[in-house]
Symmetry: C4
Subunit: 277 residues, 4 copies
Amino acid sequence: MADSLAAIREELSLANRILAHEGIVDAFGHISVRHPTDPGRFLISRHRAPELVSPQDILEYTLDTEPVHPTPAGWRHYGERVIHGCIFQARPDVMAVCHHHAPAMMPYAIARAAVVPVFHLGASMGLRVPFWDSRDDFGSTALVLTKPEEGRSLAKALGQGWMVLMGRHGATVAGTSIRQTVFRSIYSCKNAELQTQARLLGHVEALDAQEVELAAAYNLRPGPQERAWDYWAKRVQDAEAVVAAGKAALAKPASASASRPAAKAKKPAAKAKRRKR
Amino acid sequence: MADSLAAIREELSLANRILAHEGIVDAFGHISVRHPTDPGRFLISRHRAPELVSPQDILEYTLDTEPVHPTPAGWRHYGERVIHGCIFQARPDVMAVCHHHAPAMMPYAIARAAVVPVFHLGASMGLRVPFWDSRDDFGSTALVLTKPEEGRSLAKALGQGWMVLMGRHGATVAGTSIRQTVFRSIYSCKNAELQTQARLLGHVEALDAQEVELAAAYNLRPGPQERAWDYWAKRVQDAEAVVAAGKAALAKPASASASRPAAKAKKPAAKAKRRKR
Amino acid sequence: MADSLAAIREELSLANRILAHEGIVDAFGHISVRHPTDPGRFLISRHRAPELVSPQDILEYTLDTEPVHPTPAGWRHYGERVIHGCIFQARPDVMAVCHHHAPAMMPYAIARAAVVPVFHLGASMGLRVPFWDSRDDFGSTALVLTKPEEGRSLAKALGQGWMVLMGRHGATVAGTSIRQTVFRSIYSCKNAELQTQARLLGHVEALDAQEVELAAAYNLRPGPQERAWDYWAKRVQDAEAVVAAGKAALAKPASASASRPAAKAKKPAAKAKRRKR
Amino acid sequence: MADSLAAIREELSLANRILAHEGIVDAFGHISVRHPTDPGRFLISRHRAPELVSPQDILEYTLDTEPVHPTPAGWRHYGERVIHGCIFQARPDVMAVCHHHAPAMMPYAIARAAVVPVFHLGASMGLRVPFWDSRDDFGSTALVLTKPEEGRSLAKALGQGWMVLMGRHGATVAGTSIRQTVFRSIYSCKNAELQTQARLLGHVEALDAQEVELAAAYNLRPGPQERAWDYWAKRVQDAEAVVAAGKAALAKPASASASRPAAKAKKPAAKAKRRKR
């Protein structure tokens, strides 16, 4: 069990960084996973930008979004964790939840326009995406969802679906696993971008209901899911390896030549080229 | 012959990574090449994202898309390899095929809008790009082409052309070599982007038939083809060298200072700068 | 005090590089901060692109934009520093000012279109953004603000707000700290991009006055401000660490193998891969 | 003189790589400079993508575009060098010429839409940009300019201006120095992007004639020119330093641990992080 939990923390933190690297989240947004053995709990990072999340940052909450363990000094909780807790409560089949304000999807949340599957990979978001507006139940607010009743209202709007648009705010995506939720978050955004462009060309031809069902079933199988996850993981891990190696080299003791010549190295690239001649 | 086959595997795997690096494919999409000495076979990667393809991943198939050799344990085949096999069967002059869902081209596949050559480099896709829709012959499907009759239907739509749009799905591009197919895939996408922008400005002035013919002939000569290939190869290989060096540095034994100081190296860039003063 | 001033120089130079890294400024644009202990002075970089600014580049000016100390030989001053001085004079509550020509915001400065908060993070720019046009008071000019009367005219247009659009020129953003000013500069630009996209979808639903007030108050609290700053700082510092390490490696003495093999290393990435087989 | 010529080769090759790094040219496009001491000659790279150009690639031509020196074995010449020769012939005040197909500018070349200065930095392209179409004088061609009469026709269209749009093809930009030509090439493209976006918002307010004149004069002074060049040079040289260091590390002899552990280093980033805990 401990091993499994450690693996899930690792996967959830990687999911955070994948979502950041693929432009779904920036300083804000978050992804959670239901506890692997206790369905009454969920895991989510402490309050910080997803790109900075490592496995140690993952905290455990009850579905009422109470922290299970004492909060380390100086750590904060996400203000909007009710989004996650309330969806986990309402939907026992949901194992992971992502909330984001991706620039690809936001225009639909602002224009109150319907986002519809326009290619097979976008089918994973379902035939229709419900639209929730905080004004309907709560009037004018700060738009963020911090109260249980707000979370419950959103979960109700999600219904049995897998994604819900939130007026002037963002989107929330659910899935039966971390990987599926990441897949759906990314490809629903790509779908939205394509739909916007097609609209500019004058016509949006959506998938029909049967195409949505068949394409979603096809692409949510383990094969395509694993292929996409491996791709996104490689991309962010490649970038992280380059940064880690750079930082390690700079952190070498002064005996190494790393720090001294740096001051003089005005145009090393040009210099290196000149040497070759 | 063995040498030649090894060189083709190398070139095909590089083509995969070029297409990923230039944004034509992401986790999905694939490129194949006809076997250099047996025109009844073709080569394509095992089931994985193009950015991850190395020469060892290349598998050999008959034109009926049966694997020629036993499949290594744990490896999967691309579900849509009939696209490749059926075009190689129908078009003996075709030596390479690329199937993609590039964001530049998809809007045309969704809007059912004609993509037309609007600059000399886009002329390589030909005067007219046929439009194929899975619904016409097969009704509502998962959109992916997994059956021989689907591949044959697409090949028929391609006809004697070099590119075919696929409704709500993507595009398939053919060529007389790997490099020409990569060139046509990339510049048809750039053409589509430019056409979309010109349309937003209010007018799309396409090349006329003679301009298309002359410009295609000019740019498909060895000189421009090699110049473009060298450029794309440099870009992806530069990026890969940086990642490979970073990973190698991190993999150094613990005696090296790479791993230890990393933990402390909170803000090395700022630190390095402070040292200089 | 010395410590505090040194810390502010460090933070201001980091703010310069964050703004460059996030695409708010390019070769042009600048950010200033009021002197921490003397409200009659402000700090801003010498004349250079923000991406190149380090703490040593920061100069001190009176609010009449006279340099407090002798200018080092070969250094230039920003031509538009009156923008900063005049706003600091007119608004004692303003602690930092950013002037930019970000591509996200410029279309509104060119189209004379109102930018309005369309999501909670954009609320930080306020309900209404005033529009200033150099033509109104000064006729046809070079558009840049180099005279005190031009700075005063702009400060008057800003009024008690936090951002002002400048016709055919750019935008100027104010804040109660460097971090708030960076936050407002970045998220007002993201807001502008989203608004443009929503408009293309046919409808822009803005936040109402109460939502703007509540969302601004929520997101300008220390928690969200710190989370965003940490994210942007990490991004630029990661990139800088990679460059610094690369330059340091190239600057190593010839005894190291860094310079020699570079000449031969035509395709090291491919080579490295071949070795593995 | 030799020194001066060497410096110009260095600057011209850097200009090539800056233009590539800033997205003005890709595999195609080129920039030339008049010979520093012989106004009857000009310098331009051999036939290759600008990103790959180093000082050794620079060749010397007469204004009739005849190579001055024997061409090294295996080297090719740019097919369109008449663009450069003919403009240098027609305009003694022009010291550098850039020809490109930048995605920002192409829509105007395809839509036959007028690009007009919409911000102070775009003023450097002048009040009006003439439009040249190969069809007018030469009927349907491959669009590329390979004959002297084509070059002369284009030079005539340029007239006393600094930029000319070329229908369904691209743009050609002139200047009194390499740096000014790079500045004008980049900021005219940024201007075009902003104009397109403003048009989408419904209104394009251009600079008036006096604003264009004043803003161009202001920004073409040495100060702004140097500031922009330093910025673009830093960006491309930073990127090149990272690649050069990576390639050098990979090229180290096998005694170094760089090559061996690479094969095993499956997920070094994750590994490095695990070590820290």
